[in-house]
Amino acid sequence: MSEHVLPKRLYFVIFVSLVVLTAITTGVAFIDLGPFNTVVALVIAVFKATLVVLFFMHLKYQTGMTRVVIVAALLWLAVLIGITMSDVFTRHWTEKGSSWQRSSIISPYRQTASAAPRLPRRA
């Protein structure tokens, strides 16, 4: 049978771990770690999500096909975010844009010293 009846104790252990991790992530937010605040918050979130997927959603006991679906979902999410980021944050690498880009739209955001005209900004 594909039915794996897990002991109640396991569910409670996962539950307590999730609550403790929530407390930790909330507490850490009040400590100044510089850029590592973001890193710690995301690492804890990924860890919590993994616990939920493995035990509450029984991934540990599913067929290999299910794992393929999850990997595919995460892969496409990585493609979506990765390619968007690599587009926007490399635009300022070239001083002048390609022929198909107007110079004003190359890098309105992170500008090098003398590059493209600034977008109007409100004070």
């Binding site: 009040f30 100044d32 918050a41 979130a45 939920v52 999850i70 995460l74 975010i81 944050f89």
Partner: protein, 230 residues
């Protein structure tokens, strides 16, 4: 022993037996959740992009949200995930009474989430003039926060648009989940779950846990990120 129950379960004619149907149903739900990852992914992608571009405004916006609400929702959803998981376990063991109780508990916590969000948090945001396009008139304290982080008001509005779209889409999923739980409760009372297809509970459980996972990421991204120290 389990086979005695299984033989009573309805099997659609395209499946060889109950077990094949169960595996196919569960797999279908995972496929749907994969599309949901990308559905939310668009918002997460946009959020990451604009947070990097307008870092100061997003930090200021994060400080304007009330962390108590975020932490409360997180714990509430984790509790509801626990009762849902225990409900699935009860369904596996064909315990009708326990299943009913766990489903009701899960429903109550899900409803509390949506109610507190709409009635208190969003209504509070509305009164503070923090809803772009509806009532956008940030208070003096909000403006001081914006100045403190050297942010600009239009970029702060962008943060709040992301905040309302992301939590709004999540709340919509919670409401759909409440509907699924209600349906499940009715089926349980009719004996269709414990006497028939217990796997429905597993499938609704997968959906419920997925919505919980989305919140597990929304909480740090919206409420915590950038730190809460000023």
């Amino acid at each position: 022993m389990a086979d005695a129950h299984v033989s009573a379960a309805p099997v659609a004619h395209q499946f060889d037996d109950f077990q094949q149907q169960t595996v196919a149903d569960t797999f279908g739900m995972w496929l749907f959740l994969a599309t949901e990852v990308l559905f939310f992914g668009g918002l997460f992608c946009g959020y990451s992009l604009y947070r990097n571009l307008y870092f100061e405004a997003f930090t200021a916006g994060s400080h304007l949200l009330k962390i108590q609400y975020g932490a409360f929702y997180t714990v509430l959803l984790i509790c509801s995930s626990l009762t849902m998981a225990l409900g699935v376990r009860a369904a596996q063991l064909r315990q009708k009474h326990a299943l009913t109780i766990y489903l009701i508990l899960t429903w109550i916590m899900g409803f509390a989430f949506v109610y507190v969000k709409l009635r208190y948090e969003w209504y509070g945001d509305y009164l503070e003039g923090l809803i772009p396009g509806v009532n956008w008139a940030p208070s003096r304290e909000s403006l001081e926060m914006v100045n403190h982080f050297h942010a600009t008001l239009p970029h702060l509005a962008l943060f709040f648009i992301f905040y309302f779209c992301m939590t709004g889409l999540h709340a919509l999923h919670m409401i759909v989940g409440l509907g699924l739980l209600t349906t499940l409760l009715i089926f349980t009372q009719q004996g269709k779950v414990t006497g028939g297809n217990y796997n429905w509970v597993e499938i609704v459980g997968l959906y419920w846990h997925f919505v919980d996972i989305v919140w597990i990421f929304l909480f740090p991204l919206l409420y915590l990120i950038g730190g809460r120290y000023v």
